[in-house]
Each structure stands twice: as structure tokens, then as C-alpha cells.
């Protein structure tokens, strides 16, 4: 009987997947040759009765604007609410970086000038109205968030074939379309109900949004709390938890107290000084939640007179940092020393033997400093990523060992972000080290596009060698070639020490005793790639309310 159980489960899973249609043969939409797409079938799961309340603490105030995909900014936080209230045509899920969502089938013409989708049958918004391709078209045409201009500039027209079939025609090859249309990267693929949006308007939608996602918003107090109830008409499965309450709690000590008193079941951002307390509390659990690597940048390295103009000095900085010690001090040994500045979960990121953890060798670093003409070191300004000022101090202590004496400039979040957003121009002078982290999704190319090419507003590296490769990448319609080029650029950035990777950050989340399953099994909620938060929410299970 025991041996038979797994076979039965497999059979049930396969049976459950077939109505999705994605496992079966789909009739084609486009004529002509097609590009190869790697979109995995959705996993339709068994329906059950939702129970219990999951109370979640965000680490900052809640923004009702997050509930409106049409104004989706670059912030990954928004996706947490997309995954609650809305649903995307294609999106990251635990089993795949790109999984079918509302769409059950997609095609891309081999020349990347047309993209087609077929919606799965019977989709409904929370108000019971059907979700059709008219909503998909309207969402695309009214999207105003991040990358909106790219989407609008490339679009020639949208062809609605029927209620379930839609084709986007582009003016020129749009090879990045499927990457950008992915719900993990932008908001344009999260479908908004046209009839309702037009009726209630922008403000009305933010206050009382409806979507086609697993949860519907039942109440909110702007900035403080949002309450969501399970939507039993969700196509993939009935959510396991009946109510999800999200609270905005800035103070980490308050979040910790909430976990300890049982008022919270899940709290984000439990790193820093509270981490030992969380780890030592036997009633609580935690997930390491690796996001992206920390790295150092030298904004003025290319300017005359900058000590960082010399590769040996940049390498000396890397050699002087004791990464294992830093990891122990900052994250109780949870994080991992890392050899790349791009998250390993981002496609095409160099990792493992391709990007080994840089060695810690103070003697060698001193020799390099002497060879570069700085035997007595020099003074620098150090810009830590707020509020990680302690970490900045620790790095400066390491650098002091090779004569680099730093002055820490503590900036507030907005001021720091404003500087970083301007790239090298935002950090004038040629003796500054900037500490940064950016767990953005969209493949390694998105990290390169932002930080390592001349044309980006936030460029910190502008090198002819990289530009040549990047230009080639942008012109190429060959995915394999693009991957090779992206890796080559990373190789240059690392070999030349333009960026110095530190460690893969863990943005620890605390979990209360009411969350199921008991024990370490809760780690499954963090399986979605490139997800700083544990979505999808419909799979979360808690004990029934008392």
C-alpha cells in the first residue's frame, strides 16, 4: 500500500494537470517558424477548504498603489500584492522561472515580431465577470509603470482573435518581450479588469481593487493594514489559508515582539541585531531567504588621479576583505561568501567554479598596494547601503589593514538611492567606495544593463570592451549567443575587479508556530526563484483559528 501511494499521487497529479491543457498538444496560433520558449505548464492542485488566518508583517508602510499593476514600479515589493490579488499571463512559480498563469499557451515568432497567447478557459475576476483578451489588451495599452515606454514604442498593434486568443505585433524584433512580460519583471502581464477599473478610476481601484488572483482585498487602512480573503474561484487551486492580514511594521523589535506573542505568523526583514534572538527562540523558525550578493563599486575609478584606476588597487581591496568573518558578524554565518555581484538565481549568472569566492590574503593585498605606488595607503570616502552601517564599519576595518583609511558617510535610504540612481555622476570624486546590493530579476543582462554599460543612468562601469560585447548582445537574435555575451561581460567585470563581490545576502524571514507544516518543511514557501518574498500565497497553510 505504501509503495502504491506515490504512484497514485503521480497519477492524480497528471490527471489534475491535464485540464490545464498545457500538457496536451495546443493548436498553433501563429503561422511560420517559432522561437523556442521555455515556459513550464502550470501546476493545478487539489481544491480544499481554506482555513485559518496568516498575519504577515512587512518591514515598511503599505502602499495602496501596490495593488494596481498598471502603475507597477521597479520595486519587487509590488509583486507580493500582485501574487495576492491579481494573476499574470506568465510568471515565476516554485517549479519554474517562467510558468503559465492566466495563459495556457504562448508562442513567439522566430523573428521576434509577434507574440501570441491563449488564455485558459473559464477565468473570472473576483466580481464574477469573465477575464478575456479584451482585458489583456486594455491592460497592455493602459500600463504606465516601469518599462512602459519600451512596451509602447515596440508595439505596432494588438490583434484580438477571440476571447481567449491575442497576438501582439511589434514594429521590430522584440527579443526581450517574454522576459519583460513575465510577471516577475514588470506589471504589464498582471491583468486588470477593464470594466471595473474604468468604473472606479485610479484611486478607487487602489482603495478597492479586484483581480483574478487567489485572494480578494476585503479592507485596508492605507499604510497600516490590508486584509485579504481567499477567492474560491481561483483557477489553480483554492487557497489553503482563509484570511491573510498584512501589516506594515517598520520597527524590527516590534516585529520580533509580534512573532513572540503570536500576533504575527510571518515577519520579513529579521536580520541585524535581532537575528540571534530569533534563532535562539525555540518556538520560532526562520528562512535564510537568499536574495542577492553585496558588492563594492569604485565610482571614480576611471578618472585621472584615482587610486582605483589601477586594477591592482581594486584587487587589493578584494583581497583585504575577510568574507567568512563578515558573514559571521553580519548574519550569524547564514549568508555565503560569494564570487559574483549578480544573484545566482538570475539566469546566466556566473557562479561556482566560474565565479569562485575571492581569496582573503592581506599580505598579497599589501604587495599589490606597494606595486601600485600606495605602500602607505590612502584615504577614501565609504558609502554604505543604508541602514547597513555596521557592515560598512567592518569592511573599513578590513581595509585599514592594507592602509586604506575610510570615512563612513551615513546617508538615509532616499539620499543613497538618489545617488546610486545617477551612477558615477551621483558620486563625484575619485576616491569613493560604494557598497550596494540589487536582487533584481530579469536575467543577468538586466544587472549589466543597469550598472555596467555606458548608456545606463546608473552606470558605474563604462569600458569599450564591455560596450562592444553589449552592442553585439543587443543586436543578436540568437539566445545562445546572448547568453555567451552576458557571461563574457560578467567575466570582464570580475576579472578586472570593477566590482568586488562580498557575500550572498540572506534577508531572513521569521516564522511563527501556527504556520504549517511543522518544523523545517516551511522552507518550501521560499522556493520561487528571484523572489524576495514567499509567493505564491495560495499554498500557505496555517493552523485553524482558535
Amino acid at each position: 500500500m505504501r509503495r502504491g501511494l506515490p504512484l497514485l499521487l503521480v497519477a492524480l497529479t497528471l490527471t489534475a494537470m491535464s485540464p490545464d491543457g498545457a500538457t496536451g498538444q495546443q493548436p498553433p496560433i501563429l503561422s511560420g517558424p517559432l522561437a523556442k520558449l521555455d515556459i513550464k505548464p502550470a501546476q493545478i492542485e487539489a481544491r480544499a477548504t481554506p482555513k485559518g488566518t496568516l498575519t504577515v508583517a512587512m518591514h515598511f508602510a503599505l502602499d495602496p498603489g501596490w495593488l494596481d499593476p498598471l502603475e507597477h514600479s521597479y520595486a519587487v515589493t509590488m509583486q507580493m500584492y500582485d501574487y495576492l490579488v491579481h494573476d499574470a499571463m506568465i510568471k515565476p512559480m516554485p517549479h519554474a522561472w517562467v510558468s503559465y498563469g492566466l495563459a495556457e499557451h504562448a508562442e513567439m515568432a522566430a523573428d521576434f515580431r509577434r507574440a501570441a497567447f491563449r488564455l485558459r478557459p473559464g477565468l473570472k475576476f473576483h466580481d464574477g465577470q469573465p477575464l478575456t483578451t479584451a482585458d489583456v489588451k486594455w491592460t497592455y495599452e493602459n500600463f504606465k509603470g516601469a518599462y512602459a515606454k519600451v512596451f509602447q514604442d515596440k508595439l505596432e498593434h494588438v490583434q484580438v482573435i477571440d476571447d481567449r486568443t491575442i497576438v501582439f505585433h511589434f514594429k521590430e524584433p522584440f527579443i526581450d518581450f517574454m522576459d519583460l512580460y513575465n510577471g516577475g519583471v514588470s506589471g504589464i502581464g498582471w491583468i486588470v479588469p477593464r470594466h471595473y477599473y474604468e468604473k472606479v478610476g485610479r484611486d478607487g481601484f487602489k482603495a478597492r481593487p479586484i483581480g483574478a488572483g487567489p485572494y480578494r482585498l476585503v479592507s485596508q487602512q492605507a499604510g497600516a493594514q490590508m486584509v485579504f480573503e481567499a477567492f474560491d474561484g481561483y483557477w489553480r487551486r483554492t487557497p489553503a489559508t482563509r484570511t491573510i492580514v498584512v501589516k506594515g511594521i517598520r520597527d524590527p523589535a516590534t516585529r520580533m515582539a509580534g512573532l513572540q506573542t503570536g500576533e504575527l505568523d510571518l515577519a520579513f526583514g529579521m536580520t541585524g541585531k535581532l537575528l540571534p534572538r530569533l534563532m535562539s527562540d525555540r518556538t520560532l523558525r526562520w528562512d535564510p531567504n537568499f536574495t542577492g550578493p553585496w558588492w563594492l563599486m569604485f565610482p571614480g575609478y576611471s578618472e585621472p588621479g584615482s587610486p582605483f584606476r589601477d586594477k591592482r588597487v581594486r584587487q587589493a581591496v578584494s583581497l583585504a576583505i575577510n568574507r567568512p568573518f563578515l558573514v559571521k558578524q553580519e548574519t550569524q554565518d547564514i549568508s555565503k561568501p560569494w564570487g559574483n555581484w549578480i544573484s545566482p538565481e538570475n539566469r546566466d549568472a556566473l557562479q561556482g567554479q566560474d565565479a569562485p569566492v575571492p581569496e582573503y590574503n592581506v599580505e598579497k593585498a599589501k604587495q599589490l598596494m606597494t606595486q601600485a605606488g600606495f605602500p602607505d595607503g590612502f584615504e577614501v570616502e565609504y558609502l554604505p547601503f543604508p541602514p547597513y552601517f555596521d557592515m560598512g564599519e567592518r569592511i573599513l576595518t578590513d581595509l585599514r589593514a592594507i592602509g586604506i583609511r575610510g570615512k563612513l558617510q551615513s546617508l538615509e535610504g532616499p539620499a543613497f538611492r538618489a545617488k546610486i540612481g545617477q551612477g558615477r555622476k551621483g558620486v563625484p570624486g575619485h576616491r569613493t567606495i560604494v557598497q550596494n546590493i540589487d536582487p533584481r530579476a530579469g536575467g543577468s543582462k538586466s544587472n549589466i544593463a543597469v550598472y555596467a554599460v555606458c548608456g545606463s543612468p546608473a552606470s558605474f562601469v563604462c569600458e569599450p570592451q564591455i560596450e562592444a560585447l553589449w552592442t553585439k548582445h543587443q543586436a543578436s537574435l540568437d539566445q545562445a549567443e546572448r547568453e555567451r555575451l552576458v557571461k563574457s561581460i560578467q567575466r570582464i567585470v570580475l576579472d578586472e575587479h570593477y566590482f568586488v563581490p562580498l557575500y550572498l545576502n540572506s534577508f531572513v524571514h521569521g516564522i511563527g508556530p501556527r504556520v504549517l507544516p511543522e518544523g523545517k518543511g516551511v522552507g518550501k514557501y521560499w522556493d520561487t526563484l528571484n523572489a524576495p518574498y514567499p509567493w505564491p500565497w495560495e499554498v500557505w497553510e496555517v493552523k485553524a483559528d482558535r
Binding site: F60, A61, L62, D63, P64, G65, D68, E71, S73, Y74, A75, K144, G145, A146, Y147, A148, K149, V150, D203, K206, A207, Q221, A222, G223, A224, Q225, K247, G248, I249, R250, D251, A253, T254, A257, G258, Q260, T261, E263, L264, E412, G413, P414, A415, R417, A418, I420, G421, G423, D438, R440, A449, V450, Y451, S456, P457, A458
Partner: protein, 324 residues
């Protein structure tokens, strides 16, 4: 009297205009709010669109004129961070702050006034020393410290009281029944934040009550009443207390406004969704319209209160209105 009221009203208007102008200028010195929304490498078109939709692409004087003209129509603008009208968000939060402020106010009165009286009546006794100690602790132990200690003892160790937020009851604008239930439900949530907030003010209240009471008790008319053989309890309750409470009540009124409007630290520690936390979030995120709105509403309350007090003073004491 009419002229006096008009002059005071004019002063109030000028004060509000100054406040409007200063807060408009100050928030704009704190940095670029667009940086909070648009991450590094954001498409310049998106950044420009954001700046345009927030009106930040206009010259400063245009922004100012637009801001003032909207204010005159009762429109505080849209929050950058919370994407909804500032007025709606503020009035959604205000009842929570009023509830916390009133509870803390009552606590500070309940502790400060009786202890202050007792200290004055039993001057230089054990009671007086105890009162001085309470006042000292009240003034020297910051509210956040008291709050954290309360959380550890009554929230985490004993598990008697909740530590987060205000509880589920809320004021719903279209449902008047909720306005009443809101005040009388979820008291367990209120106990610790009200104590932590009222604690500081109770110390100050105690000191003022004590000194006011001592002044009155030493005055000639009290001596006369005592000489008449009136019982001490009547002297205190009927003659001394009434007069000694005048400065206490003036001070308490201002304290109440402070507790309602700027209980930032306590609201953050207890995650109390009030106006103080709103202001803190807005400042942290460079949410100009929200900062302007909250500061102006707080300023308006203070100006209105001061105006009312001025008018009442003028009404009660003719010397005041004649001297202006």
C-alpha cells in the same frame, strides 16, 4: 471685543500661512522623492513620467501656487507613497490618534493630578518624596523605554496584553454606529501604548499640579477660609483645587494636542496606526504631500486651540483685550 477677535483671527491666518510656506520649503530640502520609487537604472521616460504626475517637473513657484490654491479648496493632494488623497488617509488615521491621545491624556491626569495634590498637601513628607520620585521618573524615562519594558513584561513574558496595533475595530465613515463602538472596544490594545505615552506627561502634570496647589494653599484667601474654621477637606476640594487647576488645564489641553499629533515613537513601537506613524513614514519616504498635510492639520489644530483660548481669555479678563 470684536476688534480683538478680528486681530487674533488675523494672527491665526498669518501663522497658518507661514506654516504652509515653511513646510512647503522644508520638505523640498530633504531630497528627491522620485528616487524612492524609481530604482537604479530606471528608464528615464518612467522617471520623467513619475516626476510629471507628481507635479515635480514644474518650477518651484508654480508648485507652491498650485499647493496653496488646492489647500484653499480643502485638497491636500495625493500621497506619493500611498497613492491616495492625503485628506482621506489623514482622516482615516485621526480617530486612532484621538483614541490613543485621549486615553494617554486621561492616564496622565489620573496619575498626575492626585499625586500632585497629595505632594502639595503633605509637603516635605514621605508622600511628597514619592511624588517627586514619580515626577522624576516620568520626565526622565523616555516613552519608548517604558513602552519596550511593558512589551517585554506584559506582552512577551506574561502574555496578558497584545503588543501590535489597535485591534480590529475601526471608524467607518459611512457607518455612524462604528464611531461609538470604536471607542469602547479593543481596550487591551490600548493599555500599554496609552500608559507609555501618558507616563511622561503625568510627571509634568504632577509637578504643575503640585506647584499650583502650593501657590494657592499659601494665598491669603485660603488662609482666611481656614481662619473661618472651614474643614480642611472643604478648603482643599472647594477653594484650593478649583483655582490651582487653571494652569493645569491649560497645560493639559496643549498636552492633549501633542499626544494626538506627534506620538510618533510610541505609535511606531506599538505599531499604532495613528497620525504620528503616518508622519514618520511620510518623512522617511519624502512623501511631500503627506508631510505637508499632516503638519498643516496638526498646526491647524494648535492654531485653532490657541485662537479659542485667546478669545476666551479676552472674554474672561477685560484687561487682556483692552491692552491690545
Amino acid at each position: 471685543m470684536k476688534r480683538y477677535v478680528l486681530v487674533r483671527a488675523l494672527y491665526s491666518v498669518v501663522t497658518l500661512w507661514l506654516l504652509v510656506t515653511i513646510i512647503f520649503g522644508l520638505v523640498r530640502l530633504t531630497g528627491d522623492p522620485v528616487a524612492m520609487k524609481a530604482e537604479a537604472g530606471a528608464d528615464p521616460a518612467y522617471v520623467a513620467q513619475l516626476r510629471h504626475s507628481w507635479g515635480l517637473d514644474q518650477p518651484l513657484h508654480r508648485q507652491y501656487l498650485g499647493f496653496v490654491s488646492r489647500l484653499l479648496r480643502g485638497d491636500f493632494g495625493h500621497s506619493f507613497e500611498k497613492s491616495l488623497p492625503v485628506r482621506d488617509i489623514y482622516f482615516e488615521r485621526l480617530p486612532n490618534s484621538l483614541k490613543l491621545g485621549f486615553a494617554a491624556f486621561l492616564f496622565s491626569l489620573a496619575l498626575g493630578v492626585p499625586f500632585g495634590m497629595l505632594s502639595a498637601l503633605k509637603v516635605n513628607s514621605w508622600w511628597d518624596s514619592a511624588g517627586k520620585m514619580v515626577a522624576l521618573l516620568g520626565l526622565s524615562m523616555p516613552g519608548f523605554f517604558v513602552g519596550l519594558v511593558l512589551i517585554i513584561i506584559f506582552g512577551i513574558q506574561l502574555g496578558w496584553l497584545p503588543v501590535l496595533g489597535k485591534g480590529p475595530s475601526a471608524v467607518v465613515l459611512g457607518e455612524p454606529s462604528t464611531w461609538i463602538t470604536f471607542w469602547f472596544r479593543d481596550w487591551a490594545h490600548l493599555v500599554m501604548p496609552a500608559f507609555a505615552l501618558g507616563w511622561y506627561f503625568s510627571g509634568a502634570m504632577l509637578r504643575i499640579t503640585r506647584s499650583g496647589m502650593l501657590d494657592v494653599l499659601g494665598s491669603d484667601y485660603i488662609k482666611l477660609v481656614r481662619l473661618k474654621g472651614v474643614p480642611e477637606s472643604v478648603v482643599v476640594a472647594k477653594h484650593a483645587l478649583k483655582n490651582s487647576l487653571i494652569p493645569v488645564l491649560t497645560f493639559a489641553g496643549l498636552n492633549l494636542l501633542v499626544m494626538v499629533n506627534v506620538a510618533i515613537v510610541i505609535e511606531v513601537i506599538f505599531n499604532w496606526p495613528g497620525v504620528g506613524q503616518l508622519l514618520y513614514d511620510a518623512l522617511s519616504n519624502r512623501d511631500f504631500p503627506m508631510v505637508q498635510g499632516v503638519v498643516l492639520m496638526s498646526g491647524l489644530l494648535i492654531v485653532v486651540l490657541n485662537f479659542t483660548i485667546d478669545v476666551l481669555y479676552g472674554y474672561v479678563d477685560p484687561r487682556i483685550r483692552l491692552s491690545r
